[in-house]
Symmetry: C2
Subunit: 231 residues, 2 copies
Amino acid sequence: MISSVSEPIRPVPEPLASFIAGELMGAIEQGHYKPGTRLVEAEIAQRFGVSRAPVREALRMLMKDDLVMRRPRRGTVVTELSAAEVSEMYEVRSALYAAVVRLFVRRASDGEVAGYAVWRQRINDLAADATVTPARFVDATQAASIYVVERCGNARLQAGFRKMTRQSYRYYAEMAHGTVAHRRELACLATAMLEAMQARDAEAASMLAWRISESNHAAALVAIAAQEKPG
Amino acid sequence: MISSVSEPIRPVPEPLASFIAGELMGAIEQGHYKPGTRLVEAEIAQRFGVSRAPVREALRMLMKDDLVMRRPRRGTVVTELSAAEVSEMYEVRSALYAAVVRLFVRRASDGEVAGYAVWRQRINDLAADATVTPARFVDATQAASIYVVERCGNARLQAGFRKMTRQSYRYYAEMAHGTVAHRRELACLATAMLEAMQARDAEAASMLAWRISESNHAAALVAIAAQEKPG
DNA sequence: ATTTAGACGACTGTCGACAATTTGGCGCTC
DNA sequence: GAGCGCCAAATTGTCGACAGTCGTCTAAAT
């Protein structure tokens, strides 16, 4: 089991705001609150049985992750991104992932590189099986990228990547990895990247990471377009 | 029309929190508050003649930019970065700049690419003149990078890059660009990048952008080390 | 002299109330 | 019937107060 390093071991009672922020975050990410939904402080406060102060703090926390947006005196709404904006986010995510892989190749131990082979194998297996659901395939690719990101040795890079990933997932959901062609391409790229990692070729691996991201980017845009058109 | 916000305390035009956040931000960036300084809500509130509520909001805003850090029930302090952490930030900044240049090459007009030549020329001139102060040289390289960043067509990338740049500047200040060798290297790399841009070679330009960032990164680490050692 | 329990001060977390502002509906005028 | 300004509800911004926690200082015990 991989114990989450960022988990605070705190014997202190958690401030109400953190709890509420967590609840709201989950609700937003699971689509309980849809983009554009207005979050009224008093309403949330009443629902949780607290005053508005901790709710305001919670909303500020969500704002830090760009999960909600706030306009002065006009309230807080769940962030709503256009297709162009989602595309922007993928570009940032791609840049960060490329950097992550570059650092990983430079710093990871041989054992850690070998660890990635396990994830690549899993991706390969799932890509070959047409009965696999998009959600399961997404989980596998996610796990693979997280494995690398956690070992790149740069906490800020890691945080930025996770933030972008978390946000983008609200939009293309699991639909994006449905096509066989896309899965095959990802499996192929992952294999090539693994080889570059083993050869300690940071440039090549980084470039392949970029191409993996671009592939996901393209798939996401297709999924979003399909999602908006038919209704 | 939005009237001048720099008026001491205006209750109407903008929420108090925004005004206070701006004041604090300026104070931090200009070194009035040094890293590690504790920001006590009540004290700030009294100084501005307001209650603690808007001060809390202001501190949250600063937290979004990572200018201050907050630990539950332990208050807010001006962000204090170790050399390792500054190094992390430069890695992120480098990744973003590489992506910026890649997009710029893809999307910018020929005229915009030509515009960069002006900045490169200025960097070249300043690098050749030993009497130029580090501050002036920094301003020139800054302006050049901002020129590109503003035209990359990705607002999130731009925001992220600026955030990293703003923060890192509090640390290495202007000291980093003092050596002639470093200036010469930057001028050389900028020239090469310009040529790659003109040839519309996104990969090459992006790679050179990375190397420019790495050069700045290295210079910054030297400056920081020099700053901490002698005291 | 060092360590540890208790108390004190300082500060943050939370609360309820009031003030200010935006939004939407209503009636009025043209 | 359409456009415009006014009124009222809804919601955020700000305030002062109280409660709870953290760090420290003191004092007693070993």
